[in-house]
């Protein structure tokens, strides 16, 4: 990238401004406090930043969603509290806090209480490995990606706890649907990540971003055939994982009232919602990291690139919600097992082909393979529709 050196310096300074601010704070503390408090303070600063970021992101995601959905449905969305409704999330928060907390008489009190508390923990824990910008990963684990997949797989258990402890048929049905859906979609999601691991030869989220460096910082994995297919599969699975439309069967309003959180009110309900929105954010963040080059990009500071790409993906999720009707249960399961799973399995050898064959030829081969397999899968998945019978003597 050709750029005057002073511009480069400015970019670098803006880029690392947040990291530098933390370093400056620690230096200040180091002057008059013992060493171990500085280590502790470093942990606390990163921890508090993450703990504050999660709820903040969730609050404004709800506003963004309501605004965008409003525009899609040709109305304004919230615009009364503050300028452009900017204080709406805070008003909602106060409302949630002051609402009565209702626990069903037959409910299992302890588990009913624990479920919304536990569900926030994995949702916050995955923030640890998300690389928000250059040198802005809270913990650069060498198994970062595996950590993300493992921790986000815990989410099913608190959902089970909530649905079982409520002693409500709708809750139980919602919980069962969630489990079936999450188990099914976790498999193609995990497998769609494998080509990325193969190419970057690392599980660390930071290293994965680093391997997408190139001319103009645009050497993203999505610009390769396996990256594009992997991204599409990953993103569809991510939408299903956080139970958003069109995969929102676990909380289908028209069938199950509200699914697993039917019996929750006030702050407990808010916690379920918070976990859901934070999951949506981290799943999009990881999609950005894996396929869209993470914080790589020309001109702007790295964290701006990361948040821009992530929010673009979230807007696509909201767009899905505004556009698509809900799936049927059999369509949902069939889509995961009969379409996405075989496609991911094909994607892995294609990535291997990319590794060993020169680029032009690899493009040709992989497009051919994907075209044939896509056509075959669509053909195989076509349900048999019998011809319409004609009864000549009926009328």
């Amino acid at each position: 990238m050709s750029m005057p050196p002073f511009l480069r310096d400015i970019e670098f300074a803006v880029d690392l401004s947040l990291v530098n601010a933390k370093g400056w704070c620690l230096d200040l503390l180091g002057h008059f406090l013992p060493d171990w408090t500085v280590v502790l303070a470093s942990i606390v600063i990163s921890g508090v930043a993450i703990l504050a970021l999660g709820p903040l992101v969730m609050m404004y995601l709800t506003l963004l969603e309501r605004k965008v959905i409003g525009r899609i449905q040709n109305r304004y969305g919230p615009n009364r509290v503050g300028k452009w409704g900017l204080l709406q999330p805070i008003a909602d928060g106060i409302k949630m806090f002051t609402k009565e907390d209702i626990v069903p008489a037959q409910a299992d009190k302890i588990v009913h209480f624990l479920a919304p508390v536990v569900i926030v923990v994995p949702a916050l824990m995955v923030f640890l490995v998300v690389p928000f910008g250059e040198r802005m990963t809270a913990v650069n684990l060498n198994i970062g990606l595996l950590y993300f997949i493992a921790v986000s797989s815990i989410t099913t258990i608190p959902i089970f706890m909530g649905s079982w402890a409520s002693r409500n048929k709708y809750s139980l049905l919602g919980g069962m649907r969630t489990a079936a859906q999450m188990i099914s979609y976790e498999i193609p999601m995990t497998l769609s990540v494998v080509p990325v691991i193969m190419m970057s030869q690392s599980l660390s989220t930071n290293t994965i971003v680093m391997t997408q460096v190139g001319d103009l910082d645009l050497h993203w994995f999505i610009f390769t055939p396996w990256g594009l297919v992997g991204f599409l599969i990953y993103f569809l699975c991510a939408v299903a994982e956080c139970n958003r439309p069109p995969f929102d069967l676990p909380e289908a309003e028209s069938e199950l009232v509200a699914g697993f959180h039917t019996e929750y009110s006030g702050m407990k309900f808010a916690l379920f919602y918070m976990a859901e929105y934070m999951n949506a954010f981290t799943l999009c963040g990881i999609a950005t990291t894996l396929f869209l080059g993470g914080w790589q990009g020309p001109f702007f500071p790295s964290w701006l690139w990361f948040f821009g790409k992530t929010f673009a993906l979230i807007c696509v999720m909201i767009w899905f919600r505004g556009t698509l009707p809900r799936f049927r249960v059999d369509q949902l399961m069939g889509f995961a097992w009969k379409f996405l799973l075989p496609l991911t399995l094909i994607n892995i050898p294609v990535a291997a082909l990319w590794f060993f064959v020169p680029e032009r030829l690899a493009w040709l081969y992989s497009i051919a393979i994907f075209a044939v397999s896509f056509w075959g899968l669509v053909k195989l998945n076509c349900a048999f529709v019998p011809e319409k019978r004609i009864y000549p003597l009926a009328d």
Binding site: W36, Y147, V151, A179, Q201
Partner: protein, 175 residues
């Protein structure tokens, strides 16, 4: 820095104690669903101990396989058999005295073995870190044959499960 080490030591021992408490819960609680939740907690606690011992990969796999998949299946089964989930059952029966005798025998045996084994704590052993890459190379290189054998066995199990499940349907079905 010693204070930090002390903190981490306290943390590890607290985790171990919690794991033991939850493990007791698995065998002592009367509600099956609570037992399953305790088991999940035990498995997560074990993963935390792995992390403390610098075996991050093992910890992640432990959570992914046991908590993410096995526990979900266990809870799923408990919820499918609805009256099992709500009912409370006794956790002891007439065979428990015999079981205690057998178990104490095993504890004594394992204890003596643990005491007799010399645990060589050298600098080399303390520094040993198994990276994911070396693990993968070992699986694909040195241990490729047993690895493949295990995968063949697993596939055989899967196909077997499908065949058994299918047979039932065709016998009972209308055709």
């Amino acid at each position: 820095m010693e204070i930090l080490e002390l903190f981490s030591k306290i943390g590890i021992y607290a985790t171990m104690a919690l794991v033991l408490v939850f493990a007791l819960g698995v065998v002592a609680l009367r509600n099956l669903f609570h037992c399953a939740l305790c088991l999940a907690a035990v498995l997560i606690g074990t993963a935390m101990i792995y992390v403390a011992l610098h075996a991050e990969f093992l910890a992640a796999v432990q959570i992914l396989v046991y908590v993410g998949a096995v526990m979900t299946l266990v809870i799923f089964v408990i919820m499918l058999t609805e009256h099992l989930g709500g009912k409370t059952i006794r956790q002891t029966n007439r065979q428990s005295p015999a079981a205690i005798i057998g178990l104490s025998g095993i504890v004594v045996l394992l204890g003596t073995l643990l005491m007799k084994t010399p645990w060589p704590v050298t600098a080399k052993a303390l520094d040993a870190k198994v990276s994911v890459m070396s693990l993968g190379k070992a699986l694909m290189g040195t241990y490729a044959f047993p690895f493949e054998v295990i995968s063949v066995i697993l596939i055989a199990c899967l196909i077997g499960a499908i065949v058994i499940a299918k047979k039932d349907v065709s016998e009972k079905g209308p055709s």
